[in-house]
Symmetry: C2
Subunit: 194 residues, 2 copies
């Protein structure tokens, strides 16, 4: 039956994420994952050909969540002037990183980059492409500047601020702090673009 197996798959992915967050990558053995999922190792290998594939599924789920938000934001921002748009994007970047900070941290710090590096790169490229398209459509509001370069610098800067904010300050982030941070980052990026 399908419902049953989908539940098993979900339980496995969920359990993997939980263990990664609660006990770190090292403790995440396939046996343990199966145990936490309430499933046998045999079933695990019925659905995932390797441990790597399982971890990749977790990464994908998380990235897909983030990309959903980012894509939506970039669509809804398409008609806004640069200052409004950048502000929104900075806000969204921080929000996206805050979805599941602990998981984000583990994925960023503890997962050995192997095969699925390709996937992460794909997400990166997508963000790049989308941002670049937006910037090109707003060329008239900007100074003369190579769009690829501008995209690279802006995305790097915004991503870094969001990333470091979430990693360093963990969960303790007041609304006010976030607002100030958004203000400042927006100011930097907008000032740079025009």
């Amino acid at each position: 039956m399908q419902a049953r197996s989908r539940a098993t798959v979900d339980a496995l992915v969920e359990a993997t994420a939980r263990i990664l967050v609660r006990e770190g990558f090292e403790k995440a053995s396939t046996n343990r994952i199966a145990e936490i999922a309430g499933v046998s190792v045999g079933s695990l290998y019925q659905y995932f050909p390797s441990k790597e594939a399982l971890v990749a599924a977790v990464i994908d789920r998380h990235n897909e969540e983030i990309m959903g938000i980012v894509r939506a934001a970039l669509t809804e921002v398409a008609d806004l002037p640069i200052d409004k748009a950048v502000r929104r994007l900075v806000t969204v970047a921080i929000e996206a990183h805050r979805i599941d900070p602990k998981l984000h941290r583990v994925l960023a710090e503890q997962i050995p980059r192997t095969g699925q590096l390709k996937d992460v790169e794909a997400f990166n490229r997508e963000v790049h492409t989308l941002v670049r398209a937006y910037l090109e459509s707003r060329r008239n509001e900007m100074r003369k500047i190579d769009p690829g370069l501008a995209t690279f610098i802006c995305v790097s800067a915004i991503e870094a601020v969001a990333h470091n904010t979430v990693l360093n300050q963990a969960e303790m982030l007041s609304e006010k702090t976030v607002r100030t941070l958004v203000d400042e980052t927006t100011r930097m990026v907008v000032g740079y673009l025009r």
Copy 2:
């Protein structure tokens, strides 16, 4: 008989770095490291209590190299106005990341962050402190702004540009590209600060 043992220690650290770069973290077993170093596993454990400690030594050596450059730059820049200083710092950041890009990549991507995370944080804090001190000494050239916040944003942005540049473009970086990148990043940061 210190010379002999120092040579052994050096050989071990060097071999570890080589294996990390050439074959990745997974292939870096203690047995293999000892073999490449031309030393026995027993000797390895005479000088390093664990594999982790060995990897930590490699990380430390690399970080120390980078910090040496950064510290020097920040000292020699102390009397320069903001625009000159920032330009120098951006340049140095990229240079520092280019010291050993392959090792840098492995350290950034493949090493599970365990204990020695503390060390990395210490380096981070030092950079922060130094930059902040500089900014505070130049307050008069800047708009009214919280120094801690400004430091956080500037360091994040510069670091991210340098990091991504080196990671994405590997070794293929023309002088011209670097100069443009430095120009643009400098422009962004300086524009932001004043």
